[in-house]
Symmetry: C2
DNA sequence: CTGTTAGCGCGTTCAC
DNA sequence: GTGAACGCGCTAACAG
């Protein structure tokens, strides 16, 4: 066993198999690909030899030939613990179903790295790209190389203003509206809205939706933050001057978590005195020990949907681009333990 | 713009560039690879043309030629939200540093899928594989194709009984010991140990370590479970008959979370009446609202370490295999908010 | 049914 | 300095 480690063991190719079987390499290729042209006996013979030699087809060669890799690229801004894992799970399940694999790339919220990633995907001839744009991305100009090569791109989460791409997004404005109406219905009068960096469509829409339903009798504050730590610090400071908050809207789990920790730490206001509503896939509400309401943003489902759509596009390039808007579930009360 | 979608736009190759520059394709290749053989003027001319034509080298061809892909495969059992994201982050950062990309594969805790994944990696000539084995994996026989091809594999998390592989693991036995000593020191007399499925090395070692430090004056119970829901149900039932628990050891975040929810829900015992110690990267302790102690298992750091090691092995194939044992930090008290 | 030939796009050896 | 020719491993077109 160990001596294999030091022996130059060339990988077996169809040539080798051909030599052993006394046939031409191309015959081997056809046999292994179950071409109907090859007699069953020969097929079996060749397959047996292939198995014995532990033959692994070189996909680099196959792909080069076929211009297809059965790999799809996923580009995300960063690895959020709240959402990405379930999206990944959803993507992977569908991908497995169709025999595709996943090249996972993180743009680290940087457009230039995003472009690099796109190019890497292209150079490797991925069959399609799933893309959640970075915070600093404003348009799709840097995806040129992909469109040039006719590699389909599907944007999800954040909408991009370009109808030539496939997209899957949520009804973000409506989500905001619903959240506000909910808090009003709960009779909140002093509300804090917690949002991500200002320029992302998803943030803007949810915020605008929320604000569209505010009324004059409500005191409204908003805080923008980039991450959990950031929001935590800002809320800590905020609460000192505003201990009378009775309603909270957070546009995602991460921001909610930071806010939650700040409220617990600052202690100027009782956690249960605040009515909280967030957009979440439902994991965080399970984790924390307080009543919290949420609008369902199911990562597992989203992952599945975008992947199904991308695969469909790959298999039928002529599919017209469209923006699919995902229905969300109505507000759900989190069951206390 | 839109008409590109319907025009057969062939990808530009070195041939095209050669034609435009009036030189041979091989010259183009050399120029773009900064061969010292090419005059600077010609180089610049060729590079300019390449840029103008938005030339994207076909890595499938390059890799086929060089037998190297600058891709490394990561195979994990499933997408745990508590640990995997930070490991991914750690891996990606280091990978970016060296220009490698990540092929992410999930075995869904299934050995046969694990084998498939390995083979897919081999067939695509990945440069190396990072591997956290599935629950049902007992040895490394199914990695044959990788070793045949001399693709280095690095195992992390769960140890595998085969010294011919590179490994990075923790001092799991010692972790168990420390946890037990800690609870004893806190004067716990009625302790519950919560473990994963019995046959995984990581689970066994932590449990054995823990049990090695038990003494006669301690009542000790143990529960084995496969996931969060599973453990939750089991603990719910358990607590009914054992309301006097005063100490808890959970070998990871996921199991802790299920236990936590069960305790809250069952209400037969006060959460704060139990001294809790877990192995965690520290995120969960931040999330939940109770004192909890933990032994640090830093995913970000681990991801970085295993990737650095794998890259080192890739660049120097002769490196002897070794089992690196990661030092863990001593027990840390979680700061209450 | 099977062999021959050609080429996917690139890097490399050997000429000159 | 640069061109020509070859091959990485595989598949597809054309023969027969």
């Amino acid at each position: 066993m160990l001596h294999y480690t030091f022996t130059a063991m060339k990988r077996t190719t169809i040539k080798d198999i051909g030599k052993m079987a006394g046939v031409n390499p191309s015959t081997v290729s056809r046999a292994l690909n179950d071409s109907p042209d090859i007699s069953v006996v020969l097929k079996n013979k060749i397959k047996a030899i292939a198995k014995e030699l532990n033959y692994q087809p070189n996909l680099l060669a196959t792909n080069l030939r076929k211009q297809k890799s059965f790999i799809i690229g996923l580009i995300i801004p960063h690895f959020s613990i709240y959402f990405i894992p379930s999206v990944l799970e959803g993507i992977t399940r569908v991908l497995n179903k169709y025999g595709y694999k996943l090249l996972l790339l993180s743009s680290e919220n940087d457009v230039s790295k995003e472009k690099e990633n796109i190019q890497f995907c292209c150079r490797n001839s991925v069959d399609g790209i799933l893309m959640s744009i970075s915070e600093s991305t404003v348009d799709a100009h840097h995806m040129q190389s992909a469109t040039d090569q006719k590699i389909p791109i599907l944007f999800f989460d954040n909408k991009i203003e370009d109808s030539s791409y496939h997209q899957v997004i949520m009804q973000d404005f409506k989500i905001g509206e619903e959240a506000c109406l909910f808090l009003k219905n709960k009779n909140c009068k002093n509300i804090l809205g917690v949002y991500g960096v200002a320029n992302q469509p998803i943030n803007i829409q949810r915020r605008l939706g929320f604000e569209s339903q505010l009324s004059a009798d409500i005191t409204y504050h908003k805080i923008f933050a980039t991450n959990e730590t950031d929001i935590k610090e800002k809320v800590l400071a905020f609460l000192l001057n505003n201990p009378n908050i009775d309603g909270l809207f957070a546009i995602n789990d991460e921001l909610m978590m930071g806010t939650y920790m700040a409220i617990l730490k600052q202690k100027v206001v009782q956690m249960d005195a605040i009515t909280k509503i967030i957009v979440s896939d439902g994991k965080l509400p399970d984790l924390i020990n307080t009543d919290i309401y949420y609008i369902q943003h199911d990562g597992l489902k989203l992952g599945g949907i975008i992947t199904e759509k991308l695969v469909a596009v790959i298999n039928n390039k002529s599919l017209a681009t469209s923006i699919d808007v995902l229905e969300h579930e109505t507000i759900i009360k989190n069951k206390r333990y």
